[in-house]
């Protein structure tokens, strides 16, 4: 369970949010809403343990996430709005190497099996620089199939996806929740997911 108590985030002189508290139990998802620049990504980075809040704490199953980051990160999958994809490498190489650096060996067949439901047949061996924005996004989302994690933190996961991919991603999130996982996501769209928690910054 992810819990956040009395969180304050400050960027320069500006206080983005203060005294923010919530709890995210298993099998639940949380949508973070807010205008552009309201601090959604800053909040996600704090939840991941990448940034330190000015005040307050984030705990995972009772342990502060910044104190034992490696144990927390084993349970966490974060997809930022930056791709972390290398343009020179193919989707297969990108997936195999990024998961390899997290300690998961991914065989070519496993990676192919993850790319195909996202409609990337015929693009597996093409450098990512030849892919469209939506296709790059799909390559990234393949990580959801390949990397076991109990908590998903997704920054604008629906950006640039077509209707078919949006439905597929929603079904993935539902499956993840039904298995006892939890998810935090930011989105400007109204989502066709089972009702979840929502906070507005």
């Amino acid at each position: 369970m992810l819990s956040v108590s009395h969180l304050t985030c400050q960027r320069g002189e500006r206080v983005l949010f203060q005294d923010l508290s919530f709890e995210l139990p298993e099998s639940q998802w949380l949508q973070i809403a807010g205008a552009n620049g309201a601090g959604k990504t800053s909040l996600l980075r704090i939840l991941c343990g990448l940034a330190e809040p000015v005040a307050g704490r984030v705990t995972w199953n009772g342990n502060a996430v910044r104190e034992n980051p490696e144990a927390y990160h084993a349970n966490l999958l974060y997809l930022g709005h930056q791709g972390a994809l290398k343009e020179e490498l193919t989707p297969l190489e990108n997936l195999a190497l990024s998961l390899g650096m997290e300690g998961f060996a991914v065989s070519e067949n496993t990676a192919l099996a993850a790319l195909h439901p996202f409609g990337l047949q015929g693009r597996e061996y093409l450098p990512v620089r030849f892919l469209s924005a939506g296709q790059r996004r799909r390559v990234l989302l393949c990580r959801l199939l390949l990397r076991p994690a109990r908590l998903w933190i997704l920054d604008e996961p629906y950006t640039a996806l077509d209707a078919h991919a949006v439905d597929f991603l929603s079904s993935l999130i539902e499956t993840h929740l039904s298995r006892g996982g939890s998810a935090v996501l930011t989105s400007h769209q109204s989502l066709s997911l089972s009702p979840g928690l929502c906070i507005t910054l």
Partner: protein, 225 residues
């Protein structure tokens, strides 16, 4: 889950694969080294005694500058596209992944310099023994350049005009490696034997292998906040 070394291996493999897709960068650094070292005999003139004396220094300075060329791009592309964030969020040790990147940088920027140095040493009229000592000193010394350079690259990450700042920050730290590296050949020419200098160089390598990846990681975490 695999052993501790698997993520390290993958980190090295990734950077080598990226370098293989950007061959021009490697070749540019190597040609830069060759040209800088070639300019000296042309500028100083064909006096074998003088050339023999300046050979170790010339080759070492060439190696320093060639290493510096690629350093700025050691972390900058990964920082820009979010890869560094993912590495910091890996359940594996971030330090180990960073160490993998440093090793890959040495394999791409340092090792070719070590391999080509004996050929360049010939035109300075170095003896066979002199060439051997020079190569050994570079083999011990170029990893130090990559290791210390990585600390500088991490500290200047995201700073505007980081190229010049990086050189100012790092070149003074290269002085000990330069002194002992170039000194090894000179000491041998003077009849003192190279062992003392080479041992000190090896000690520097051990110390920087131990501390540099860790310090680099701390600097990268600060850059990511």
């Amino acid at each position: 889950m695999n052993g501790l070394l698997y993520p390290f291996q993958q980190s090295v493999r990734r950077d080598l694969l990226l370098a293989a897709r950007h061959k021009t960068e490697i070749i540019t650094a190597l040609f830069f080294f060759v040209i800088v070292v070639n300019l000296l005999p042309l500028g100083i003139g064909p006096d074998p005694d003088l050339l023999r004396k300046i050979a170790p220094g010339a080759l070492w300075i060439g190696a320093l500058l060639a290493t510096l060329l690629g350093l700025q791009r050691l972390f900058a592309p990964d920082h820009a596209d979010g890869t560094l964030e993912q590495m910091a969020l890996s359940p594996q040790s971030f330090t180990l992944l960073v160490a993998g990147k440093i090793l890959a940088h040495w394999l791409v920027a340092g090792l070719p310099v070590v391999l080509i140095a004996p050929v360049l040493g010939l035109q300075f009229d170095l003896s066979g023994r002199g060439l051997l000592i020079l190569t050994v000193s570079l083999l011990l010394g170029t990893p130090i350049l990559s290791l210390i350079g990585a600390v500088g690259a991490a500290l200047t990450l995201g700073v505007r005009g980081s190229g010049a700042l990086l050189s100012l920050l790092i070149l003074p730290l290269y002085i000990p490696a330069l002194i002992f590296g170039a000194g090894a050949v000179e000491a041998d020419l003077a009849g003192l034997g190279p062992e003392g200098h080479l041992s000190l160089l090896a000690a520097l390598l051990v110390v920087s292998t131990f501390f540099a990846p860790w310090v680099t990681t701390v600097a990268l975490r600060v850059a990511l906040e």
